[in-house]
């Protein structure tokens, strides 16, 4: 080889090759490229969430009425605490990651391994918490009625507290058969989610209880949903009500506009997928550290690269936290 390569006379000069234009290695630079493009993808999602929210600015769910649950504390309204805990877990796993990178610079193999281990644990706790949050959101708590126009109406008592459908819906006689293709019309299907009560049962229960009111999605000037008077409530439910909604899915959402649920599933799901893949990559690197791969390579730059990715996942969560739970 040596014989075939002509000397160009530029060795050691700026354009002679072999130097790093941005003083970062190829791998790190490519990780930054990826992070920038991924950041733009996430911005696209979050900005389109903002678009839909501005489109329905006077009827968007209030986040701390949606996410009020903490595991093992059933029935205790605790807005935001659990998601604050998740945020802290993710920031803390970022800290252990950056400590692993620091230990890597000093070639301390056992320390890198331990810090990587803690990072993986933190990531696993976060993904688990997110799964729990999804399950709670899908299950719903009070239940609501959807109107013919696709708007959500919720039920309150006269003290202004939410009332669950199960507390007032009347059991009406009559059986609800599950429709099957083999015994009915072949092209018709059951709704995606079956509810515990039919709309007629909810309506009968509502008319029988004089201290029930309806709350609409529309926000007043203080940002609280509007509560209708008893007469207006009856009129609204009887004329416009159509469907019982329990929990949230991609078509119906008892907390408000279905788009809120769609974006919640999509954005936190996409972020959760990033956390999951980050955990997998961290596990691979963790085993490489234990096996001594980087010890033999005499540098721990791989730890630094996955560290960049892991911090980026944390960075995205900071924004998701703000735009889904706070603002």
């Amino acid at each position: 080889m040596e014989a075939t390569v002509a000397k160009t006379g530029t060795e050691g000069k700026t354009w002679g090759g072999g130097n790093r234009p941005l003083n970062a290695s190829y791998g790190k630079l490519m990780m930054w490229f990826f992070i920038v493009s991924d950041a733009l993808t996430f911005s696209g999602f979050i900005a389109s969430y903002g678009f839909s929210r501005f489109k329905f600015i006077d009827a968007w769910p209030v986040a701390d009425e949606v996410f009020t649950h903490v595991p093992f504390l059933h029935g205790v309204p605790a807005p935001m605490y659990y998601v604050a805990f998740m945020t802290l877990v993710l920031i803390f796993s970022s800290v252990t990651m950056v400590l692993a990178v620091d230990a890597g610079h000093k070639m301390q193999r056992t320390k890198v391994a331990w810090y990587m281990f803690f990072t993986i644990i933190g990531g696993a706790i976060f993904v688990g918490s997110q799964a729990w949050e999804w399950a709670t959101f899908i299950k719903g708590d009070y239940g609501a009625v959807e109107t013919k126009g696709g708007k959500i109406i919720q039920f309150l008592n006269t003290e202004g507290e939410r009332v669950a459908l199960a507390d007032f819906a009347k059991q009406l006689p009559g059986d609800r058969e599950i429709h099957e293709k083999k015994n009915g019309i072949w092209y018709a299907e059951e709704p995606v989610t079956m509810t515990t009560f039919s709309f007629e049962e909810v309506k009968a229960g509502f008319l029988a209880n004089d201290d029930l009111l309806i709350r609409t999605q529309y926000l007043d000037e203080h940002g609280h949903p509007t509560v209708l008077s008893r007469e207006a409530s009856i009129e609204k439910l009887v004329n416009d009500g159509k469907l019982v909604v329990e929990g949230a899915n991609l078509r119906h959402n008892e907390y408000g506009h279905p788009l809120f649920a769609n974006f919640f599933f999509f954005i936190t799901g996409f972020h959760g997928f990033h956390v999951f893949s980050g955990v997998v990559i961290n596990i691979i690197i963790f085993f490489n550290v234990i096996l001594g791969t980087y010890e033999r390579r005499k540098n721990y730059e791989m730890v630094e690269k996955v560290g960049l990715y892991w911090h980026f996942v944390d960075l995205v969560w900071v924004f998701v936290f703000t735009f889904f739970y706070l603002v």
Binding site: I35, A47, P79, S94, H105, G149
Partner: protein, 127 residues
């Protein structure tokens, strides 16, 4: 591998002896900012929710600014942007910031316009 770390944050107001103590210092700062956000999110002081600045609630401005502060320290200290060359820093940050600002501006203006169309026109959509 000798790695140079700049060991001060807040423009030199807070100096650290080692990189490890800097990491813990930044962690404490991020926790403090998150705690402020959570407390404000739970309490929602009326003076901040009822006042507006540039068509947005003052409270939401505070949340967004605190988020950007957190993002800055995560990128600068955890991702070591502080220790990179200025050229790398700028090619990453300016590109993203410019494109994201443009995207947000365009989409939010459009969303607000559609809201007005729904509100002002003669289509009945609340039924």
């Amino acid at each position: 591998m000798a790695h140079e770390h700049k060991l001060e944050i807040f423009r030199g107001l807070w100096k650290f002896k080692s990189n490890i103590s800097k990491i813990w210092g930044v962690f404490a700062f991020l926790c403090a900012v998150t705690a402020v956000e959570v407390v404000l999110g739970i309490v929602k002081p009326e003076s901040l929710t009822d006042s507006h600045f540039l068509a947005m609630k003052t409270l939401n401005w505070i949340f967004i600014i605190l988020t950007l502060v957190k993002a800055y320290y995560i990128t600068w200290d955890f991702m070591h942007m502080r220790d990179e060359w200025k050229s790398l820093r700028r090619s990453v940050v300016w590109t993203a910031v410019f494109l994201i600002c443009y995207l947000i501006l365009i989409l939010l203006i459009e969303g607000d316009y559609i809201f007005d169309v729904y509100k002002m026109n003669y289509i009945k959509f609340d039924f």
